[in-house]
């Protein structure tokens, strides 16, 4: 296991390094003097010089890169020029909200996948299969900004049952009932495509399990289909679904940008949107790096989980 991990680690580190060079380059590639851009259109020459000195833009480029990366690793993120707040605290607050949203979406996805796949397999009706498959295609296809907007129009504007956006004013812990109301639509919107992907995968692996010889034996022994599915097929189908879940977590974090913009949910996505519209490029760079880091780590964890579950991968063959 340690050897497998040691084999995967260099390429992950390479991706992180190459991505950091690209993200670092973003601010330098923007046409014009970055210090002027960051200081704003009507800043005094002194203010521009102060920005230049603070960012080290007067230093050699390699020096700038090393200093930037060092700050990033130490989570010393500087101050936002636009908002005048500590970037680290912005990122921390945003990250908390994004994680809350992602976990809620994950819960939606898992519950949906378990219910639909087990329900579909247990019922074993052709028409239900067709309905579920059609629903699945639509759930995968529709962009989150479409489902999110639809949810808002229906549940917040036409039937005023849920708040259209934002987070509960008193925080999540003090009023759990309110927290659920605010979380419900964004979590549903974010979790739907992931849930559909997971449903399709779990249904297929359940069906594969049901064709295995041990199921025939169980049937011959007179054990009910319901019991076979729940106590035999499901435990065997679940482990591989876990690795699909790992891939979906990455997709959820990427999709959160849009869902947060739709529902005005103050997470990392909303932060990066305000960063880009306010030309707060250092903040945007931090957020870009963070999202790459999350992607690389989830990918690594998924691979490791795969290897742990399947000795064939661990012992070679997956090197390619």
């Amino acid at each position: 296991m340690a050897r497998y991990l040691a084999g995967r680690l260099p390429s992950a580190l390479f991706v992180l390094f190459a991505a950091s060079v690209l993200v670092f380059a973003v601010l330098r590639l923007i046409p014009g003097d970055p210090a002027v851009t960051l200081a704003g259109p009507d800043a005094s020459p002194e203010a521009v010089d102060a920005v230049r000195a603070e960012l080290g833009l007067d230093q050699p480029i390699l020096h700038q890169y090393v200093a930037w990366l060092g700050d990033l690793v130490r989570f010393d993120l500087g101050r936002s020029y636009v908002l005048g707040v500590d970037n680290a605290s912005l990122v921390r607050d945003g990250l908390t909200n994004t994680i809350v949203l992602t976990l809620a979406a994950l819960l939606v996805a898992v519950l949906m996948a378990l219910a639909l796949s087990i329900g579909g397999v247990l019922a074993n009706r052709r028409w239900l299969e067709a309905v579920l498959s059609g629903f699945n295609t639509i759930a995968v296809a529709l962009p989150t900004f479409v489902t999110g907007t639809l949810l808002i129009v229906l549940l917040a504007v036409v039937y005023r049952v849920l708040p259209a956006g934002g987070t509960p004013p008193e925080g999540f812990a003090s009023r759990p009932d309110l927290a659920v109301q605010y979380l419900l639509m964004p979590a549903l919107c974010l979790g739907l495509p992931a849930g559909a992907a997971l449903t399709r995968f779990l249904t297929e692996s359940l069906r594969t399990q049901l064709e295995a010889p041990y199921v025939t034996t169980a049937q011959a022994l007179g054990i009910s289909r319901r019991r076979i599915v729940l106590t035999q097929a499901l435990p065997n189908a679940l482990p591989s679904a876990v690795t699909v879940l790992g891939v979906q977590v990455g997709a959820l974090l990427g999709g959160a940008v849009i869902v947060e913009a739709v529902f005005a949910w103050p997470g990392l996505g909303l932060l990066i949107e305000s960063g880009i519209s306010g030309r707060d490029y250092p903040l945007v760079q931090v957020l870009m790096m963070l999202s790459v880091l999350v992607f690389v780590v989830t990918q690594l964890l998924t691979d490791v989980a795969n290897a742990w579950l399947d000795p064939r991968i661990r012992l070679g063959g997956a090197a390619a």
């Binding site: 991706v15 973003v26 296809a141 962009p143 907007t149 849009i258 739709v262 880009i276």
Partner: protein
């Protein structure tokens, strides 16, 4: 990014197309959805009752019906006309940006797969591009290039390069191991001749499935970037920016957003259905 599964090729593209799309209920539905939207976009100057940015006296956030099929927006523009012209942005990203990205990806894949060092290098590069979630990639590119249709097209093309590069590589490696290629090599065929005559034609066919998926994803990316205000520059419309405008005015006019939503859904679903039917046609 969604990636279609690749299986080694058999049969011709024409047959897959007939069997998959035309004879398959889903494929036909997808084809109809896409054709209707594409035709509406192409014919926009002929069928749109008003100009895309034309402001109409006294028609502020009017509901649907009467002279305005989908109503008017907050600065008195006809939403139906804006939707028709907005489709054209998606036509550019779907039928220009996706093919360009695909061709570049295929070219890189074909050029590097047969050479050990170049292959490793290309694969690591693809890793790096794929490590950026599409929207984050879009945000980075937009920061450098500024918002606009060209930027959106660049983002989409860039995102498709590694997808097609990977697929063509897998496909080539599978075909290379097939007996007929091996026997051809034993008979003295050169690498490039083999590539042109046998491997390339057979490895391209499974990519048609991915093309449908990628076109669906392109509509999503255009919509998402425009929704974030990083797409077309106002006042020009795109489907994504119309949804953005619609949600901003949702309390005054809840019907505003419905038209753009329906059109985006038709496109995204249509391309996905065609791709599913092609995949089914290949298996049949």
């Amino acid at each position: 990014m969604t990636v279609a599964e690749v299986e080694p090729a058999e049969g011709t593209t024409g047959r897959t197309w007939r069997r998959g799309v035309l004879l398959h209920g889903r494929g036909l539905l997808g084809l109809v959805l896409v054709t209707v939207v594409v035709a509406a976009g192409l014919l926009a100057p002929l069928i749109a009752p008003f100009g895309a940015n034309e402001q109409i006296e006294g028609a502020n956030l009017v509901g649907p019906g009467g002279a305005h099929l989908l109503g008017t927006d907050e600065v008195n523009r006809d939403i139906w006309s804006r939707v028709l012209f907005g489709i054209r942005v998606d036509l550019i990203v779907v039928f220009v940006a996706v093919p360009v990205g695909a061709v570049v990806g295929i070219a890189v894949g074909v050029a590097t797969t047969m050479n050990g060092l170049a292959d490793t290098l290309a694969q690591r590069l693809f890793d790096v591009v794929l490590a950026f979630p599409v929207l984050i990639l879009g945000i980075g590119v937009t920061a450098v290039m500024g918002p606009g249709v060209v930027t959106v097209a660049v983002v989409i093309a860039l995102a498709e390069v590694p997808v097609f590069g990977r697929l063509v590589r897998t496909s080539l490696l599978t075909i290379r191991a097939l007996p007929y290629v091996e026997s051809s090599r034993v008979m003295g065929a050169g690498t490039w001749w083999l590539m042109r005559r046998h491997m390339l034609p057979n490895s391209l066919e499974p990519l048609t499935v991915q093309l449908g998926v990628s076109m669906s994803v392109a509509v999503f990316i255009e919509g998402a970037l425009s929704f974030l205000g990083l797409g077309v520059r106002p006042p020009d419309p795109s489907l994504g920016s119309l949804i953005r405008d619609g949600i901003r005015n949702v309390w005054q006019s809840p019907t505003f957003v419905v038209g753009p939503l329906v059109v985006v859904s038709m496109l995204v679903l249509g391309f996905l259905l065609i791709s599913q039917a092609l995949a089914a046609g290949r298996r049949a």
